[in-house]
């Protein structure tokens, strides 16, 4: 008998949470990297308030993207250690449930780091980043990276050069997500009129939906040898 789709998705997310709560390998490495990045940027970019409003969106996304790559690599490497991913694939569950389960875990970890960055960056850059629209952009952008990243990390983890291969593959593919996220964030931080940046948020939502559909369709092929 086949395991119900959502039961399998929840079981995988729960398993990843449980493993992470115990080892704290993923969040600690992602968090430390993110913290160091924003500190370096804050020392390097001694800017006035207007210039800061322009660049802080970019700093936020560069940090989130590279922290997410770090997390994605680790998350999939954990699955490959001891071949536990094979055990996952041997269960009578839809392949898509495995994809959504892994995506759920990756998304939660990356979003946690992103949300923790907002108050820290508000303090360091003296700009209010705790904003509902910015939180929505962060959520949609992180989802976009997690979608493409989960698919690509599943592919690259099988290769020897996985650490370098994932960013090389992921950054060009996730470029529409990055572009829309940075533009929407910059508009929000500049307190520009809604009409100036809201289209970017809509584009981000649309790109997420397209990528989700594509990755859902491709995942089954990617996990085959």
């Amino acid at each position: 008998m086949k395991t119900p789709f959502f039961k399998a998705v929840i079981a995988i997310v729960r398993k990843d949470m449980q493993a992470e709560l115990r080892s704290r390998e993923l969040l600690s490495s992602m968090g430390m990297f993110a913290l160091l990045s924003i500190l370096i940027f804050s020392f390097a970019l001694q800017l006035d308030i207007v210039a800061r409003q322009e660049v802080v969106g970019g700093v936020l996304w560069v940090t989130v993207v590279f922290a997410s790559i770090l997390g994605l690599n680790r998350s999939m490497a954990t699955e490959r250690e001891g071949s536990s991913f094979d055990a996952l694939l041997l269960a009578p569950v839809d392949r898509a449930a495995v994809f959504f389960g892994k995506l759920g875990g990756n998304f939660i970890f990356t979003l946690t780091v992103g949300v923790l960055l907002l108050p820290l960056m508000s303090l360091l850059y003296n700009i209010v980043l705790l904003n509902g629209y910015l939180l929505a952009t962060l959520t949609l952008g992180t989802l976009g990276f997690s979608i493409t990243g989960t698919l690509l990390a599943t592919m690259t983890v099988q290769t020897r050069a996985r650490e370098s291969l994932l960013p090389i593959l992921m950054l060009p593919i996730a470029l529409p997500v990055l572009l829309a996220s940075v533009n929407a964030s910059s508009g929000i931080l500049r307190a520009a009129p809604l009409g100036d940046w809201f289209a970017w948020l809509q584009i981000l939502g649309a790109v997420d939906v397209i990528y989700l559909a594509l990755c859902y369709l491709l995942f089954g092929y990617v996990i085959e040898e």
């Binding site: 039961k7 398993k15 954990t78 001891g82 071949s83 041997l90 269960a91």
Partner: protein, 244 residues
């Protein structure tokens, strides 16, 4: 009697290298087949194809009437797999690992807890059930891997060198568990290099060489020594044929 497992002209190639060549094999329900052969003979490839984790290059494969890999998802609930790799999460405890797989196999929560406790006790890990798998020795991981494979009461057991890492007691325990499973009408396919064990446990001996089936006979009447002699004779014949 309709075969439970049926492979017809099963072929698997990795690029230009053939791991299996037009293999024909049928296995009846309740049989215990020992798959023998040198490294690279195609034993693990055959087992991987049977799990549906790998796609055949050519030929057909059915298990219980399900076409593999197209209908593998439905068939997987009937499969229990033990490999020479543990197939476990090292950052979870033994009990958490089994609970996770119980959820993945849609076992009811209450009966799953009972089954987990019983299996941990059966494989001698009751006292270490709440310890992280990463703190286990290789043999203990293999015992837990056996418990994971039996958790959902599968009809078919696919075993790829299952005695790897087990000490004498662990290997004897595995043999007993497998004998019980076989007595319970489970079908077992076991790839192994241990001829004595294969002769003692299996009901049928299959030898693969370079991806082809070169010997297939009932195990009755074989002991370790006779099987070793038969294995050597088959190997020598093949060597002579390839030299000609």
């Amino acid at each position: 009697m309709k075969p439970l497992i049926e492979a017809r002209a099963l072929t698997k190639a990795y690029g230009f290298t053939f791991a299996l060549r037009k293999l024909d094999l049928t296995v009846l329900r309740g049989e215990w087949v020992a798959l023998l052969g040198a490294n690279g003979s195609g034993k693990s490839t055959l087992l991987r194809l049977l799990t549906g984790l790998s796609r055949p290059t050519a030929g057909t494969l059915t298990i219980g009437g399900w076409e593999i890999p197209r209908e593998a998802e439905a068939m997987r609930a009937q499969l229990g797999v033990v490999s020479h790799k543990p197939l476990l999460y090292e950052t979870l405890t033994a009990r958490e690992n089994l609970r996770f797989f119980a959820r993945m196999y849609h076992l009811p929560k209450d009966s799953a807890e009972e089954r987990i406790t019983a299996l941990l006790s059966r494989v001698g890990l009751s006292r270490r059930g709440n310890d992280l798998v990463r703190t286990y020795s290789r043999g203990m991981q293999q015992r837990l891997s056996i418990a994971r494979a039996l958790l959902h009461n599968p009809d078919i057991l696919l075993l790829d060198e299952p005695h790897t890492g087990l000490d004498r007691d662990g290997a004897a325990l595995l043999d007993t568990i497998l004998q019980e499973a076989h007595a319970d009408k489970r079908t077992i396919l076991m790839a192994t290099h241990e001829l004595e064990r294969a002769a003692a446990l299996a009901t049928r001996i299959v030898i693969l060489s370079r991806g082809t089936l070169v010997y297939d006979a009932p195990a009755a009447g074989f002991d370790g020594e006779r099987l070793a002699a038969q294995y050597a004779a088959v190997s020598n014949e093949l060597k002579a044929a390839s030299n000609e």
